[in-house]
Each structure stands twice: as structure tokens, then as C-alpha cells.
């Protein structure tokens, strides 16, 4: 079935809510369908208790949802923009991620924390960030970065079913992108998806950048270059086996991500591989600079399909 990225997540959430009455969603403006329409129609089906509006109160939303999770409900928390989620960092990092351990296993925080991220048409510095590497660094959290409607369907379902807190980073620029969704597909969280096979170079990526990597791979095919594109899908756990296996064959590794390169998760992937085998490696991330409003400036910090293709050509020389 064809769905957009937004519809896929909505479908998955609706199904989860039908199956389990303890699943509920909470965030600002959800009753009107959410800022990106990703909750459209759900209020009508599930009512205002289960598709709950919230005050502008990210710390309150996160803290309260955590409390409600500890007593046995399964909240889906909407942060609206990943940037605003920074207002709830103590709640996520000091409380949610740590409670189960600190309390010696007495509690659980089965939560999905949705944080729409990334560059989106001149949203400027406070509405464009991608901070997935932060969450990958925090023990206790699962980190999901779906790149396609299929994954935004199946990963959302799995995230709601998961007993760990899942930081769920949807990319704002692809809400309307369409794709086939097979409801039965069930690749588990933690497993990568090989989106293109190839023997010359391995490109590891996630989220929207992975779609660019696929574009690059397709473009290079006519040049006779075999680019294997691995979509990590989750950054923790991440599929080291898939990456090691592929790089073992190609000997060349590119990691491409939209977020800032310095301290980005690409560093983790390259370092992990480089500790274990000789590899030609290259990261492609944003410069350590801020995101401007003017499109020509915004574009200068953008990783593009062309840049990935160029890097692939170069590394294969």
C-alpha cells in the first residue's frame, strides 16, 4: 500500500492504539492533527484522553508522560521539533533514561519520544537541528531514525511495543514523501537495511541522508561503480555486523549524515570499524557551523547526493 511518511507513522500509531488501550499520545496541538498532520484523524477515533493536547510545556510533557509510563501506560510523546525537546533534557536524560537502573529494575519507561528533526525550508538555527548522536551517547535510550514510509510504519509499531524509552527522530523534510508500505514487514529495531547492494564502497547512513545516499548509488551505477548503501535505521543498537560484513568486502567506508560532522555518529561508525580493520574511510557531515535562514547559506551546510557520489568516486580511485 502506498503511504506518505507521515501517514505511515499515523497508521502504525492508530493500530497500536487499537490493540492496546494503555497506549496514548500527548503533545501540543495534537487534537488538531499535529503540526505536520502526523496525528490527523486520531482525535476523532480515540478521543481527547488518548490523543491529548498539552500546554506549551515540553518539560511537563516529558516528565508527566514518564510518570504515567512508570504506572503502566505507554505514552507516545510529541516534541513538535527536535529543537524544543532540549527544554526537556533533564527529564529525558537524567530521569527517563536512568530510572530503571537507578531503581534497581523496579521501574520501566516504555515511551516513544518523537522528535521531528532536520533541515526544512529555511527554518533557521533553532528549528533545524539533528542531534541523534547525543541520544546514542546516553545509556538507557534506544535511538530510531526512520528514512522511509515503510520504516516509519514498522519502526513506529515496534517502538510503541518496546519496553525501553525510544527516541524516535522523524525527518521533517520527508513527511510527504510516498512509498510502499508492507504491513507484514518486520525487520527488527537494531537491524540495518541494505538499500543498495554493491561491491566497491560501503555507504552507511540513516534518516533523510540515506535517501540521498541511495540517489547517489543509483547515479553511480551507470559509471559502473557498485555502491552498497546501508540504512542503519537505529543508532542504538546499531547493526555493526552488517557494516563490518560489508566493509569487509569493499574495504571502503563512507558515512553520510546531515548532522554536524564533529562529534556526529559517523565518528562512531568510522572509529568502530577502524579499530577492527584497515579501511579507507571518509565522513560526510555538516560543517561545525550554524544553520542560516537564507537558502544559499542553508545549502552550504547541506550534505547532498552529489557530494556523496563525489566522495564515493574519490574513495574508489
Amino acid at each position: 500500500m502506498k503511504m506518505t511518511y507521515a501517514e505511515a507513522a499515523r497508521e502504525a500509531l492508530a493500530e497500536a492504539m487499537r490493540e492496546d488501550p494503555t497506549v496514548w499520545a500527548v503533545g501540543e496541538d495534537l487534537g488538531r492533527g499535529g503540526v505536520f498532520g502526523q496525528y490527523k484523524g486520531l482525535r476523532e477515533e480515540f478521543g481527547e484522553d488518548r490523543i491529548s493536547d498539552a500546554p506549551i510545556s515540553e518539560a511537563g510533557i516529558m516528565g508527566a508522560a514518564f510518570g504515567a509510563a512508570m504506572v503502566g501506560t505507554r505514552p507516545v510523546v510529541e516534541m513538535r521539533f527536535a529543537d524544543f525537546a532540549l527544554c526537556a533534557t533533564d527529564e529525558l536524560v537524567n530521569q527517563i533514561a536512568k530510572a530503571r537502573f537507578m531503581f534497581g529494575g523496579q521501574s520501566r519507561a516504555p515511551m516513544v519520544i518523537r522528535k521531528p528533526m532536520g533541515l526544512w525550508r529555511s527554518s533557521a538555527a533553532q528549528h533545524s537541528q539533528s542531534l541523534e548522536s547525543w541520544y546514542a551517547h546516553i545509556p538507557g535510550l534506544v535511538v530510531a531514525c526512520p528514512s522511509t514510509p515503510q520504516d516509519n510504519y514498522s519502526m513506529m509499531k515496534q517502538a510503541v511495543a518496546c519496553d525501553d524509552p525510544v527516541v524516535y527522530l522523524e525527518h521533517k523534510d520527508i513527511w510527504l514523501s510516498e512509498g510502499q508500505v508492507d504491513r507484514a514487514e518486520n525487520l527488527p529495531l537494531g537491524k540495518a537495511r541494505i538499500r543498495r547492494e554493491g561491491g566497491d564502497v560501503t555507504v552507511v547512513s540513516w534518516s533523510q541522508a540515506c535517501n540521498l545516499a541511495v540517489e547517489a548509488a543509483d547515479a553511480l551505477k551507470s559509471d559502473g561503480l557498485g555502491v552498497e548503501v546501508i540504512d542503519l535505521r537505529t543508532l542504538w543498537p546499531w547493526d555493526k555486523d552488517a557494516v563490518m560484513e560489508s566493509v569487509g568486502r569493499t574495504g571502503r567506508l563512507i558515512v553520510a549524515h546531515e548532522s554536524v560532522q564533529v562529534g556526529g555518529f559517523g565518528a562512531e561508525v568510522v572509529a568502530y570499524v577502524a579499530e577492527r580493520m584497515a579501511v579507507k574511510a571518509r565522513r560526510l557531515g555538516a560543517p561545525r557551523s550554524l544553520i542560516a535562514y537564507a537558502p544559499n547559506l542553508e545549502n552550504q551546510v547541506r550534505v547532498t547526493a552529489d557530494m556523496i557520489a563525489d566522495a564515493a568516486r574519490e574513495i574508489c580511485q
Binding site: 498539552a54 506549551i56 510545556s57 527554518s123 533557521a124 528549528h127 542560516a292 537564507a294 547559506l297 552550504q300
Partner: protein
């Protein structure tokens, strides 16, 4: 309203200010809708212009102002040039922030405007801190500036409201907090998500002198804020103004605001549009229809010209992309 001692010049000044704000915003909206010239989201203050028009005229250029995502009106009223602001909305060279910020980060430090903010309520503590800085500088070299810190009704539900007001109260700071209560937080009725009696009640619980005003009545706003500003300049202590108003447009320029009860916006536009009200006041005080029209037309012409300038302005120089990130470890030298 045709009292003998009505101050016509003052009333006219406020109408001019409101007309300029509205013309700026509706011009920008047209540029966004018809020509896709405005790049990011813009939030219009149509219907809320009486607050900046009444208040900012009491401030000196060197007094400070912090505002929100809905900050065009405050910024214009504080004295920022419309052309640079329009260029900023279009992301052009010569924009208030060199095209880097856009509408939500508009700022003009030259007129004391320390920035709009894309994060609701964040400016509340920052504005308290700006006043804290004034207080410290006052002891070093004399500084009698004051700070005005504006936010919406939705902002009172975030922690920085508490932390900022408490800070200003504890440290006795020369800051005026202004809650522009337009009843909505994006698409949500704020009262549905607010416990208790709202902004003024909360402000009073911090022991801060608190006022309420019909924020659509420019005359009332300016009368009251004349006293408030003079008192803060003198006492160096915080005060709080709860200004009730109504957002006539959508949350963003592309929001049809279908969630509002049918007829609500129309009724408010009839009843409480501050520009209509101020026109009536001025007409009653003897201003001719021609003069009123001239004020309106002048504002339209100014903003049309500003848009023309902005439209033909170049994009920011690509070479500025790494400017003003940081000195040490600047991306201009090391971006990776």
C-alpha cells in the same frame, strides 16, 4: 472622546505605528503567499498592534527589548527600519541579521532590540538577565536603561516564566514583563491548557506589581505604560503587564485557523480591531477621513517600497556563511 485635552499628536503617532506594523505584515504575507518570497514561517500580529504602538513610544532607543516569534510589531515600534526587516524576512543581504535569522530571530541591537526568539518563553529569563546586566553596569558606570520583555499567553505555561519572574523579583531588576494574551497558543485555546486565573494571577504570586489592560485600546495602553515605564526607570523594580488582545490572523501566515469557533474572528475584527478603534478615536477628535487615509497610504507605500528593495536585494554573500559562529575554533578556519 472629543475631550478638549485629547492629545491628537500622540494619538496620530500611535495610529501611524499601528498602520506601519499592519502594512509591514500584510505586505510580507502577500509576498509569502503570492510570490513565495518569504522563506520560513512568519507569525503575524494583526489585531495586536496597539500594544507595541502604545508601549514602545515610552522607551528610549537605548532601552532594551526582547520579543517572540511574533515580534515584527515590537521591533518596528522600537525603531528598527522596515526595509532591513523585510530583507531579513526574504533572507537577503542587508537584512537585520544579514539574512541568517529570518522572522523568528529578528533583532536590531542598534535600537536595543535584542532579538525575537524561536523558543516560546526562552526570552523571559534572558530579558530578566539583560536587566540584571543593566543593574550591574549601573554600579560600574551608571546605567539607567530599562528592559521590556514580551511574550504570549502560551508562554506562561513554561518553566522560564517562573524562573524569569522569580529572578527579576529576587534581584530587583528594571524590567517590564508584557504578556500579550491573544487567547491562542498556536492552534490550541490557551485557557484549555492553563490552570488558574492566568498570567496576572501568576505574576502577582511573585510579588511583582501587576497591571491588566485592554491591549486593543492604544490610548489605554499608552496611558498605563507611561506610568509604568516612568516608575520602573525610577524604582528599578520589575512590573508586569497583562495585555488582552486577539490574534485576527492564523498562527502562521499559512494557518487558516479553522479551529476557531465560527464567527469569533469576524466578531473580534468588528469589535476590537485596534486600528479601527484608533481611527474612530482620531475621527472623533477631529481628524479628517483624508488624513486617516493618508496615514494608511503612507504606511502601505513605505512597506511596498521596503518589499521592492528587499525583492531586488541579492542573497547574502556565500562567504558570510561561517562568519559570527565563534572566534576560537571558527568554522572559517576549521569546519570539520
Amino acid at each position: 472622546m472629543s475631550q478638549t485635552n485629547y492629545d491628537l499628536a500622540r494619538g496620530r503617532e500611535m495610529l501611524e505605528c499601528m498602520e506601519r506594523i499592519r502594512a509591514f505584515e500584510l505586505t510580507a504575507k502577500r509576498a509569502a503567499v503570492d510570490e513565495q518570497l518569504v522563506l520560513g514561517a512568519i507569525h503575524l500580529s494583526v489585531g495586536q498592534e496597539a500594544i507595541p504602538a502604545g508601549l514602545m513610544r515610552h522607551l528610549r532607543t537605548d532601552d532594551l527589548l526582547l520579543s517572540t516569534h511574533r515580534g515584527h510589531g515590537h521591533t518596528l515600534a522600537k525603531g528598527a527600519p522596515a526595509e532591513a526587516m523585510m530583507k531579513e524576512l526574504l533572507g537577503r543581504e542587508g537584512g537585520s541579521c544579514g539574512g541568517k535569522g529570518g522572522s523568528m530571530h529578528i533583532a536590531d541591537f542598534g535600537v536595543g532590540m535584542l532579538g525575537a526568539n524561536g523558543v516560546v518563553a526562552a526570552n523571559i529569563t534572558i530579558g530578566a538577565g539583560a536587566a540584571h546586566g543593566i543593574k550591574l553596569l549601573d554600579k560600574i558606570r551608571g546605567d539607567d536603561r530599562i528592559c521590556v520583555d514580551v511574550f504570549g499567553d502560551g508562554a506562561i505555561n513554561r518553566g522560564p516564566f517562573l524562573e524569569g519572574l522569580n529572578w527579576a523579583g529576587v534581584f530587583d531588576l528594571p524590567v517590564l514583563f508584557v504578556c500579550e494574551d491573544n487567547r491562542y497558543s498556536a492552534t490550541t485555546k490557551t485557557s484549555d491548557m492553563t490552570a488558574g486565573d492566568g498570567a496576572a494571577a501568576r505574576a502577582r504570586s511573585f510579588g511583582i506589581v501587576t497591571h491588566e489592560v485592554d491591549g486593543n485600546d492604544a490610548e489605554a495602553v499608552t496611558d498605563l505604560t507611561a506610568q509604568i515605564v516612568a516608575r520602573i526607570r525610577e524604582t528599578r523594580r520589575p512590573e508586569f503587564l497583562h495585555a488582552k488582545t486577539y490574534r485576527l490572523d492564523g498562527h502562521t501566515y499559512f494557518d487558516p485557523a479553522a479551529y476557531r469557533p465560527a464567527g469569533e474572528a469576524e466578531a473580534e475584527a468588528q469589535r476590537s480591531d485596534p486600528i479601527m478603534r484608533q481611527r474612530s478615536v482620531l475621527a472623533a477628535a477631529g481628524m479628517s477621513q483624508d488624513e486617516l487615509t493618508a496615514i494608511h497610504d503612507a504606511a502601505q507605500a513605505e512597506m511596498a517600497a521596503a518589499l521592492d528593495e528587499a525583492r531586488s536585494a541579492p542573497w547574502p554573500d556565500d562567504a558570510t556563511v561561517f562568519d559570527d559562529v565563534q572566534d576560537l575554533g571558527s568554522p572559517a578556519r576549521e569546519a570539520f
